[in-house]
Every structure is written in C-alpha cells, then in structure tokens.
C-alpha cells in the first residue's frame, strides 16, 4: 500500500472532508510556428473563428453563472473579455496575417495579441498595464481551444470532489458549487486570498498555501482534507481514516447538540443580555448569520468589493450591496466597516516596507477624500433602512476621527442638498485596534457612538508580533494580560462616556474568552456565524458575578499561558469540547 503523506498548508476554512481529488489546472499553451499551404489558408481561418466561437460560449456560460449566483456587478469584467474576443480589429488582423504570412492561426493570433499587450505595457497608466492580464486570459482560452484542450472549469467538478489546484481565479472561484465541492486545497494564497474568503462564505473546508501540491497529488485520488489543522492527507492509513470518521461524527453530533442554542436569547443566567452578532465578508452570508442566531451584523468587511473586481467599486455598486444587506437584516443592526486594506490594493504602484505600520485603512481613506466619499455616500444612502452603523478601522489618533467625521458631515450636507433620504441619527463608531486608541479611549469616546475592539490587530501591535511570521507567531496570544488590560481600559472608558463597547476580533469567538469578556463588561461580541451557538451556550451558563471574579483574576497573571490555564480550570466541565477547542 502506498505510504501516507501529509501535506501542510494554512487552514483558512474550517471543517473536515473526505473526497476524490479533482485537479483544476489551466495549462499554458506553447505556441509553435508552422507554414500553411495556400490551399488550406481558408480552412485555417475557419479553424480560428470556430475556436473564438467556443471560447465565447465558455465565457458566456461563466458570465451567466456569476450573474445568477453572485450578481451582475461581479460579471462586468467578463464583458470586457468577451468584447476583446469579438474585437473586429483583432479578427481582421489575424485573418490578414494568416493569408499574408501563410502561418498557423496560433502563431498569428499570438503575435497580434502581443502587439496590443506591448502597447498597454508601455502605458503610464497602471490600470491599463493590468489589462494585459485580461488580454492573456482571453488569449490563452482561445489558444487552448485552438489546440483542442478542454479548459477544465470548476463548473464541471463532480459531486464529492476535493478541488485541487495552483490557484483559482476570482471568475472561477465564483463558480464553485458547494454541493459538489467538499474541500479546496491550493498551492498559493493566505487567509485573505480570494479562494479563502469564498470557501469560508460557502462553508467549504479549505487549505491554502500548500507548496508543491500539484506535483504530489493526482486526479482521482482519495484524500482527507482537514480544514481545522490545515492539512491534506494523501493515502490515509486505515487508522487515520478511522480517526477522521470519528472526528466527522463527533463534529456532526456536536453541531446537533449546539443547534438549539441558535434560537435562544444571549442572556446570562442572571439576566445580563450581551448582543451576539456576526462578522461577515459577503452580503450573502446574512443567511448564515440568521441561521446561527446572530442578533445583527457586528462587522461587515467591505474588502471583497475591492478585491474581487478590477478597479474600485462605484457608489452605485456599493449602495446596492449595503442596501441589500440592510434590508435582509432589518431591524437588526448592520455595522459597515469602511475601507480596511493597504494602499497597495487600490494603488498598485504603491509598495512599502512595513505595511502593518503603514498606509492602510482609514489612513488611505483620509488621504483620498474622493475615494472615501464614494463609500460614505453609498453607506449613507443605504441607511434609509435605519439599521446601518458605520465604523472606521485603524484609528490611531483623535485627529483622524475629527477628520473622518468632518468628511462624513460634508457628505451628509451634499445628500441633503440633493434631497436624498438617509438616517441622520446613524451611529458612527471606531475600531479600537491600535495601542494609542486603546490608551486614549476615554478621550476618543466623546467623539463616537461606539467602540468595537479589533483584538487581532490590537494583540499584534501591543505584543509587537507579526502572526504571519512563523518564527515569532508563537508569541501572538490574545489572552496576554497586556491585551486584556487594554481591553478593560477601553470598556471602562466607553461606559464612562455612555457609549457601548463591542469586540469583533477572534478573541470573541473563543469560548474561553466569554466569561472574561462578560466580566469586563462587554456589551456586544461579534464573531463568525458558526461560532455563535457555542458562544450562546457558554454565556447562558454563566452569571455576571462569577465572570467578574474570573476577569479580575485573569488580569493579574503574568502571561498568556497562565491566563489560559486558569480559564480552562474555571470553565465548568459541563461544556463538552470547549476545553479541547481552546
């Protein structure tokens, strides 16, 4: 029997699956030059035209699927690709070229495209230079069709498959059918890559960044994909298969045990209500949020709007997304976080040595007021639903809030002048994720309606640890007393100023942290939808005084390990699985 092999990657979407490998590969075609006898030149042109026809069908299919499943905004870039395919100048040049040079269609077509690509490459405009990728996207499809290769599309993935590939392009990721795809493993990417985001949204277990994956895995192999541990197992031993069978069974039973908690109110035994809401990345995830019993959207990340398309989203596109989500969640609140990416995401010419300390999030928005205003207008217009709240990420100084609010006021004035209806009591809050904002929270609280603690970034900045760096990532721990003390300071400051304080980092999704956060007085905890039932279960078994005692003790330990050891002891045995999860 073949030896078991465990391929390691980054766990980006939880769950375990067993399935048959479907290798998704886009082959690059080598273009050869051949002479075509004069009598076959017409045939060669026909061959070229029918390859165009086949490619057009492929692209139209993809476009239809994206239109139907995600929305027309996402299909727009395909319009440009289809037009490139039908471009009469190109078709004309290829026809002429085949006749004049007596060469094969592949060679002539490749040459014509190269000419255009070179022209765009020489352009000063970064956006146009990037369109070269579109040209070759289309071009390679045509060349594959000319060569008679079938282009493996994720549409064709059969039931029970684990999708394996080098990378999955946004247009293809949009086509993934969660009924057929049981798991995803790719060679590149990280937690925020497009494939990772899609997998989480569709609740498909996924592992990314598996080096050399395609060289080690073959089509049709049976594999186990463990999205909790970030591994793909080839030729699993009988013992391993047995183990995972048990694991899957336990997971199902566990979910079953938790499911009644979705519906129950998030109240402690002694009646303190803590809002449990959902962090989502796509508006379609509102369904998960509701299914698991979220009381609102505590964090709507707007990054996908910028990452899944070319160019920046227009006001209209953003408005449609925000409005749709607000409508679906009404009357429950939806907190929309404004742009939270690095400057490199919108200005591809821009690079920096230290992006986490660099030009990102609200810093970008404040420097590009027109860009910021587009998003603010879209959010305000959607606020007619009266349940939208707005949140600025990465605030580090008081001046930034003032500046952002001034721009926000301006936008409100503009809308009033245009007689556009919006919610003029809209709550405006900030993410507290920099040490300076946490330390100055009392001063900042006077200028905002709420705080939401971003514990991931806060931990990274307070402990000075890049969690993506393997050599130091073990130092990253949001249970560190330094982090917890800052969280206490933020909550106290908020309450002193009579504003509510929530948390939307991963700490909130950790059941161990719940007694701690309640003890510190948190008003809202926002987490990924799946984590909600467990959080409710823990919360409903606690009382405020016992939580306060736990919190006071936790704050006085010397390090994260002591805190966790203590919490594990304190969490009563009646929660099966919780000790093991933490």
């Amino acid at each position: 029997m073949a030896k078991e092999r465990i391929l390691k990657g980054i766990a980006v979407s939880k769950g375990i699956s067993q399935g048959t490998v479907f290798v998704y590969e886009t082959k690059d075609v080598k273009v050869m030059q051949t002479l075509i006898p004069s009598m076959y030149l017409e045939k060669e042109i026909e061959r070229f035209l029918s390859a165009l026809e086949r490619t057009k069908k492929e692209l139209s299919n993809i476009k239809e699927r994206i239109n139907a499943e995600i929305g027309p905004d996402f299909a727009q870039f395909l319009d440009a690709q289809i037009l490139m395919l039908k471009d009469r100048d190109i078709i004309g040049a290829v026809k002429k070229g085949i006749k004049a040079e007596k060469k094969n269609a592949e060679y002539v077509y490749h040459g014509v495209l190269s000419e255009y690509a070179d022209k765009l490459c020489a352009s000063k405009d970064q956006y146009l230079r990037e369109r070269v990728a579109d040209i070759w996207d289309v071009g390679n499809r045509v060349l594959r069709n000319l060569a008679g290769f079938t282009h493996a599309s994720v549409i064709e993935v059969p039931k029970g498959s684990v999708l394996v590939g080098h990378d999955i392009s946004p247009s293809e990721a949009a086509l993934i059918n969660p009924d057929h795809v049981q798991g995803i493993a790719i060679e590149v990417g990280g937690r925020t890559s497009h494939t990772a985001i899609t997998a989480r949204a569709l609740e498909i277990p996924a592992v990314v960044g598996v080096e050399g994956l395609l060289a080690k895995i073959e089509n049709g192999e049976r594999v186990i994909l463990d999205g909790n541990r970030g591994i793909l197992i080839k030729n699993p031993t009988p013992g391993r298969i047995q183990f995972y069978k048990g694991e899957i069974k336990r997971e199902i039973e566990y979910q079953k045990m938790l499911s009644p908690f979705c519906e129950l109110p998030a109240k402690t035994r002694d009646g303190r209500q803590v809002d449990i809401s959902a962090n989502i990345e796509f508006s379609i995830e509102y369904a998960h949020a509701k299914k698991y019993g979220a009381m609102g959207i505590g964090l709507f990340r707007t990054e996908f709007l910028y990452l899944t398309r070319r160019g920046n989203p227009s006001e209209e596109e953003q408005f449609r997304v925000y409005n749709e989500l607000a409508k679906k969640m009404k009357p429950d609140p939806v907190i929309i976080r404004t742009y939270d990416l690095g400057g490199d995401k919108i200005f591809s010419d821009y690079h920096e040595a230290n992006p986490f300390l660099g030009w990102r999030a609200v810093r970008v928005s404040l420097d590009d007021v027109d860009f910021f205003k587009i998003q603010l207008r879209a959010i305000l217009r959607a606020s007619v639903n009266r349940n939208i709240r707005i949140m600025y990420p990465m605030i580090s100084t008081f001046e930034e809030i003032k500046q952002a609010n001034a721009i926000f006021d301006e936008v409100q004035q503009e809308l009033k002048k245009e007689k556009v209806d919006f919610d003029d009591h809209i709550q405006v809050g900030i993410m507290v994720e920099t040490p300076s904002a946490a330390l100055m929270s009392l001063q900042l609280a006077a200028h905002v309606d709420f705080f939401s603690i971003g514990s991931n970034d806060l931990t990274q900045y307070v402990l000075a640890v890049d969690r993506g760096n393997e050599r130091v990532s073990h130092l990253f721990d949001h249970f560190h007393p330094a982090v917890l003390r800052l969280i206490k300071q933020v909550i106290d400051a908020g309450h002193k100023a009579h504003i509510w304080v929530g948390i939307c980092g991963e700490l909130g999704a950790d059941p161990l942290a719940i007694p701690l956060l309640i003890g510190l007085g948190i008003d809202e905890i926002s987490m990924s939808p799946v984590a909600i039932p467990k959080a409710k279960m823990v919360l409903r078994a606690l009382t405020v005084p016992e939580c306060e005692e736990i919190a006071t003790k936790a704050l006085n330990f010397r390090g994260a390990n002591e805190v966790k050891k203590f919490l594990r002891r304190m969490i009563p045995k009646k929660f099966p699985g919780i000790g093991g999860m933490a």
């Binding site: 727009q76 870039f77 319009d79 440009a80 037009l83 490139m84 471009d87 009469r88 100048d89 190109i90 255009y116 022209k119 765009l120 352009s123 000063k124 405009d125 956006y127 146009l128 369109r131 579109d134 040209i135 070319r310 160019g311 227009s314």
Partner: protein
Amino acid sequence: MIKEKITILNENGLHALPASRFVKLAEKFKSDVKIMKNGVEVSGKSIMGILTLACEKGSNVVVTTSGKDEKEAMDSLRKILEGQD
C-alpha cells in the same frame, strides 16, 4: 459625417468598464465610429484599440461618426465620454 471634440469627463477615464459600454453601444449603430487621440485613430467598435489610446479623465479626443444614424450615435456616445449616462 459628424466630427466632435470631446473631453473625457467620465470618472474612470475610458478604462475597461466604460470602454466596454462604449464599444457595446457603438456596435448598436450602423454608423462607422472612430476615436482619435494625439493623432492616433482607432475604431470605436474595437475595445483593444480604445484601450491602447489610454484615455484618462480629462483627455481630449475627436470622435467621428459616419453613416445613416450618425447623429444618434454621436449623441449617445458623447454621454458615456462625458460621464452623464
């Protein structure tokens, strides 16, 4: 034949998305459509041609339409370039 000098006011210049709309619209008319910038003229019905012109917001182009429906063509294409559609 109608010839008009137009300044591109569309927020995104005549980049991929507006360019797609421009070409799609141009194709609806029987008239021949041409765009010229800095002495280079391309067909208004070729997206590749338009892209290579690199028309950013604020650039000046000369649009020519000629054919039976040249007036309607010019009127609606101008709107895209001026960002009013």
